[in-house]
């Protein structure tokens, strides 16, 4: 599912300048080129999370970056753990 920049801005209810800032902070990492980025539904969900952090939870700019970094580590850890558990399960070990 490819989302163009204009559709992304509309659905995330944000402006071009804010998106540029988020991309330079590496909070959102679209595929594609700088001149024509392409976004996914996952990027939209990530934008929603950033909004929640800033507006609902009162997290400041520096905090958002730290949280996203840790969250990405958590997701990779969960993946590694569930892969390991699945492999152990398949071996018949507990």
């Amino acid at each position: 599912m490819i989302i163009s920049k204009s559709e992304f801005l509309y659905r995330a209810q944000m402006d071009q300048e804010t998106l540029q800032v988020w991309i330079s902070e590496e909070w959102i990492a679209p595929q594609g080129l700088e001149t024509e980025p392409v976004f996914s539904e996952a990027d939209l969900a990530r934008a929603g999370l950033i909004r929640n952090l800033q507006q609902d939870l009162g997290v400041n700019t520096e905090g958002v970056g730290v949280i996203l970094n840790l969250l990405d580590q958590i997701h990779s850890l969960r993946w590694a753990l569930s892969s390991k558990l699945k492999a152990a399960g398949d071996d018949g070990n507990s």
């Binding site: 929603g48 609902d56 939870l57 990405d72 990779s76 892969s83």
Partner: protein
């Protein structure tokens, strides 16, 4: 922590007194939201429900008017839910990241030194990032009516100066997208290039109209051709053909030219439907007028209209 919430009393949900100030309400909400936000608890399957209760309560009590009406008993706490939100964790899911650029193995890279299985996972991730394909690129192409019906090859000039040869399959429809493999953006690593996606729009034709697999054509004919019949040249998408107009035709008579319509994938073609339109002369024709003034029609086109 939440157990059975009594009929969803928003004050109870947020843990504030009925006399709480707006600041106290926001502070209480933030404290709970920080703990309960589903993306901050990716492994908690009940997180979304708990969070929904809290945001619902906050939306109700943070709105002065709604709070007043609730306190007065005019409205209840139901219907306060926000529209369904997809959380980032729904996408990160089993792949451990919602996109190759959000992967972060720093959390367990050290364990991989002691564990073959984890080392393999780590290696695969790094390889995936290197091998990730380039992005797809989106283009729009406006195509002539006959190129769409018959098929064609056209060249698009790209913004960066390059060009792309696009094969338009016969019978392509308005809005269809063609995928050209490997013609998109190059990969950041060593992966393959992405694809070019070309969205097709079709220019209308001066006199052909498409209806599914058929072509519709309104063909002007002279009075003589209609009354006496005769051979006329008729345009079709695949060239001009001679067609016999039957004697005694009139406006609306339709002739079907089999196989002269839109090409289909299997090689067959639809039909062309030619609807006749009898035209009287545009310029005055004294000879015709002289004849008609002496001619009595033996038919009444408005017979069925007597009121």
């Amino acid at each position: 922590m939440f157990g059975e919430v009594s009929l969803r009393d928003p004050y109870e949900i947020l843990g504030v007194a009925k006399t709480a100030t707006p600041d106290e309400i926001r502070t209480a909400y933030r404290k709970l939201a920080k703990k309960l936000h589903p993306d901050l608890n990716p492994g908690d399957t009940k997180a979304e429900d708990k969070f929904k209760d809290v945001t619902g309560a906050y939306d109700l009590l943070s709105d002065a008017e709604k709070r007043r009406r609730f306190d007065a008993g005019e409205i209840d706490a139901s219907g306060t839910e926000r529209p369904q939100q997809r959380y980032y964790k729904d996408y990160a899911g089993s792949a451990g990241a919602a996109g190759p650029r959000y992967q972060n193995t720093s959390g367990f890279a050290d364990f991989a030194q002691e564990d073959d299985f984890l080392a393999e996972l780590l290696r695969r991730r790094e390889q995936q990032a290197r091998r990730a394909p380039g992005a797809d690129r989106l283009y729009q192409l406006e195509v002539d009516f006959l190129d769409a019906v018959n098929g064609a090859t056209r060249r698009i000039t790209l913004p960066d100066g390059g060009s792309l040869d696009v094969t338009i399959p016969p019978g392509i429809q308005e809005g269809q997208t063609l995928r050209l493999r490997g013609k998109g953006a190059p990969s950041r690593g060593e992966g393959p290039a992405g694809d070019a996606l070309v969205e097709i729009s079709i220019k209308p034709h001066k006199f052909f109209v498409r209806e599914g697999d058929d072509i519709l054509l309104e063909l002007p004919v002279t009075v003589s051709e209609a009354v006496l019949g005769g051979k006329v040249k008729v345009p079709t998408p695949s060239g001009t053909v001679m067609v016999t107009v039957p004697k005694g035709s009139t406006t609306g008579s339709t002739l079907r030219l089999k196989g002269k319509g839109v090409a289909r994938r299997d090689g067959s073609r639809g039909d062309e439907l030619v609807k006749l339109k009898v035209m009287t002369p545009a310029e005055p024709d004294p000879e015709l007028e002289a004849f008609l003034s002496k001619w009595t029609p033996n038919y009444d086109p408005r017979r069925d209209m007597q009121s």
